[in-house]
Every structure is written in C-alpha cells, then in structure tokens.
C-alpha cells in the first residue's frame, strides 16, 4: 500500500495543518494537537472533549463544532493521545459548567484520560467521564480489557453534544452519554488489513478469499477468520451477533459504517442487506446513517452499530449539528 504522505513522522501534524486550512470555524493547535471549536468556551455550556489515536477520521476532529464535540485530541496514528492534550482541551472549552470526557474503551485511552481528569481537576475543572464500549465482538470479562469502543462513539458524541448545546448540566449530559452507550452495540468485519505508517505494511495478513469477523478499528486482527462471504451473509452475521447480545424493543438508530477503503457503492448495498436482516428480526429503524465515520485508515470492510432510542434521544439525534464530518439542521 502506497501512502499520500510526506514522512510517517509528520502525518498527524500535516493533517492538522490541512484541517486548519479547510475549516476556519475550528481553532487548531497543531503543535499541541488540540482541535477546538472557535467559539469555545460557550458560556454556561458543558464542554465535550474526546480524542484517541489518529487514523479513524472523521472521528474525532471531524465531529468538533456546534451540537457535537467542543474539542478533540488526536494522538499519533492508532495511539491514544497524551494527558497534556486533554488537559489543554478541557481548559480551552470549560466555561465553568464542567467538561465531559468521552473515552473509547482501550487501555491506552482509559489510562491517559484518567490521568488527564486528575490533572484537570487539580486545575479546578469539573470533569466527568463516559466510557464507550459497544463492540460485541469482544467478550466483556475479567479476561479481556473489556468491550472496545467503536461506532457508538459517534452516537454518544452527537447526542450528548446536542444535550450540552441545549445547556443541560454536566450530570445530565453525562447520564445521557452513558445511556446512549449502554443502548449501543457494534460489530465490524474487515476484508483487508490496514497499513500503518510506522509499520509500512499491512498490520496483519489476510489472504485472498478470507475475511476477519469482529475486527477492531486499530488494525488488530478480528475474533475469527472465515472464507469470504457475500454482503448478505456478512449482514446476517454482524446483525445477529449484535442481536444475540441485546434485543432492542424500541426503534434504533443504525450506523452502517465504512472502515475506509470500501466504496460507498458497496456500503449502500451492505445497508440494504442490514436493513433486510433487521426487518426479519423485527427491529424498527428510526434513522440510518451510511458512510465512512469511524474508520481504520485504508482498511476495507464495514461495521454495524445499533442504538436503541426513545423519543428524547431521537430528538437529540435530530437536533442541529455543524461539524466537518456530520452536519444537518444548520
């Protein structure tokens, strides 16, 4: 795989310069790696800060803006950011109403955000944290690092972002974020491995004619390898894996997410199959989002995320959002 880069060392900084040039509505601190909405801190508004390794764009930097994140901290590719970034972001967005850290459940993200929370509280910032752990491919047990955070991150950031934008208090924004996470489940499938800049070759070897079920978004191999399946068979597998874990009674939000290199044409076709399986299992879909939102560099494949919602969550989902990666209503 060839890359459109200068040198591996500057990939993240180069991207931040490019983001700054394209989006005057963001304040991008390239040196310290913090992306903040220009009008932060917004008086009386809870600040929402997320972050994680780079390579998942538009997550998280593409979700900074009115109605979603206040700031994002991009780490090195597939490497959690450092506490310094998060503390800086928290300070930039805190209006006194406190800050919510939205943390995907990976050891690195958890440890770094934990350290940052302590440091930010030392600076007098009230911090709450919510862990996103929606990936049913990983057994949540004492013998693992717990379920990973993947597609649900978008739901949590969007819905909690809408609540914060309305001026809801920190405890409420936090509990909404937690509820969205608890109501969400994901499952991902890779048709190819991605190539990280540090390594320069695919992170794992996936022969022609095979796919990885239960893939992570960091180039980690999946849970199980199978012979190549059709779009319909993959939809069956992914949706059933989710519905084996949870049985939504209410309508759901559906995210059919591309991992990077899968054409939108295929992703929409996959959506048709996912909707077929959901209909067959009696799950009503309130809203569908199809696209590359939580990616894994140039990995081919897709993930499915369901979030069971009520009227309030649907209202917050539909609320205006104005970011580089997600935009409606304004």
């Amino acid at each position: 795989m060839k890359m459109l880069i200068n040198v591996p060392e500057t990939v993240v900084a180069d991207a931040l310069r490019g983001l700054a040039a394209a989006h005057p509505e963001l304040t991008v601190d390239v040196e310290n790696r913090v992306i903040v909405r220009r009008d932060a801190p917004v008086a009386g508004k809870v600040g929402l800060v997320s972050g994680g390794g780079s390579g998942h764009e538009p997550l998280h930097g593409g979700f900074v803006g009115p109605g979603m994140l206040s700031a994002a901290c991009p780490g090195e590719v597939f490497t959690s950011p450092v506490p310094d970034q998060m503390v800086r972001a928290a300070a930039a967005v805190d209006s006194g109403a406190g800050v919510l850290f939205i943390v995907k459940n990976y050891t690195g993200d958890v440890l770094n955000f934990d350290m940052a929370a302590e440091l930010a509280e030392d600076e007098g910032i009230q911090v709450a944290k919510v862990l996103v752990n929606d990936d049913v491919a990983v057994t949540d047990s004492l013998y693992t690092a717990g379920r990973r955070g993947t597609g649900a991150t978008l739901f949590v950031e969007k819905i909690a972002g809408a609540a914060a934008e309305e001026g809801q208090p920190l405890e409420r924004v936090e509990s909404i974020a937690r509820q969205v996470n608890e109501n969400s489940r994901s499952f991902g499938v890779a048709l190819s491995a991605c190539t990280t800049y540090a390594k320069g070759s695919p992170t794992f070897d996936l022969p022609d004619g095979e796919l990885e079920l239960g893939i992570g978004i960091h180039g980690e191999p999946g849970r199980e390898r199978r012979s190549m399946m059709t779009s319909g068979e993959i939809a069956d597998f992914a949706v059933n894996a989710i519905l084996d874990d949870v049985s939504p009674r209410n309508p759901v939000l559906l995210l059919v997410n591309g991992l990077g290199a899968t054409p939108l044409l295929e992703l929409y076709g996959f959506n048709a199959e996912v909707q077929r399986v959901l209909a067959a299992r009696g799950v009503a879909v309130a809203r569908t989002l199809v696209g590359n939102y939580v990616t894994s560099l140039d990995m081919a494949g897709a993930s499915v995320t369901l979030c069971q919602i009520d009227e309030e969550l649907l209202r917050l989902w539909d609320a205006p959002v104005k970011t580089a990666g997600l935009r409606w209503g304004i």
């Binding site: 950011p81 440890l111 491919a137 004492l142 990973r148």
Partner: protein, 202 residues
Amino acid sequence: MLDADFFRRWMTVTAASVEREADRLTDLDSAIGDADHGSNLQRGFRAVAAVLEKEAPDTPGAVLTLAGRRLISTVGGASGPLYGTLLRRTGKALGEDAEVSEARFAEALRAGVDAVMALGGAAPGDKTMIDALLPAVDALGDGFAAARAAAEEGALATTPLQARKGRASYLGERSIGHQDPGATSAALLIAALGESAEADGE
C-alpha cells in the same frame, strides 16, 4: 552506589536500544496489537533523552520522575502511562538522595512495578510488561545481570500465554504463540541497567 549519572545513562542506553529494536517491537505489536509499540517508545525515549540532556536533574529520584513525566507527555497509548508511572513512581520512591544503593533501587523499582499493576490492573501471567518486570525486580537482589536474565526469560515466557490485558486480549486464544511487545521492551529496559553500570566502570 548509583548516582544521577547512572540513571541518566540508564535512560540513554534504553533510548539507544529502543532505537535499535523499534522495528522488532512494532512487528511483535502488529501480530497481536496495533503495530505501534516500537514507534511509541522511540518517540518517548527520544524525548526523555532530550529532556535529561537539557535539564540535567541531579538526583536519581529527579532523573526518573522527570523521565516518567516525559514518557507520559509524549508516548500516549497504553505503554505511555504505564512506563511513565513505572519511572515516576520508582523515582519518587528514591526520594531526594544524591546516591542510592542497589538494594534501595530494587525496593524503589518494586514500588514502581506495583504502581504499574495498580494502574493497569494486570497480574503476572496476563501477558504484559509485568511478566518481564516482576521477575526482574525479584532477581534484582542478585545483580543487574540476574535481573536481565530474569526479564528476558519472563519476556520469552509470554509467548505461550493468552493475553488478558491490553489490546492483545481482544484476540483471545489467537494471542497465544506470540511474544508480548511490552514484555519485550521491558526486558530491554532492564538489560540497559547492566550496560549503564559497565559504562560507569570504564
């Protein structure tokens, strides 16, 4: 006795061996993780070497706490806070003395390793850096060479284990048969002790 110079050398020798072994660490991480462990530590220990050069702290404790803070501020990932905590807490345990005995260091390092276990929640046998660090601490009473041998053996012994912590745990049984990258880098860190002491003897 070990002075600030020794600990500075420990860090720069580690930095050099991380530089040398970065590709291997990244390869190990690509088998059961996300292919960044080598570049993570490279970035971190380059920063550590640079800051020690610039600030030249003059006690063993100050050297290690500064190094630990620097790792936390530059590495990210799981290994940043963990190695950062290891050095910071070892440094804190060394206090403000200008020189410390090997026994005192062994004790401090145990405090550091305990802090890593408390932070990351890993126990021995979980296929993490702990599997190299803990045997090394246990053997440190017998000298740096013994600690090195124990750490290297510990790292090798992670191969047949199933990971229970960190990214590799997602693989379940498929993590078996691969050496843990963090245990491997921990063995480099411990090996650097002996080399730093030899350099002292010259």
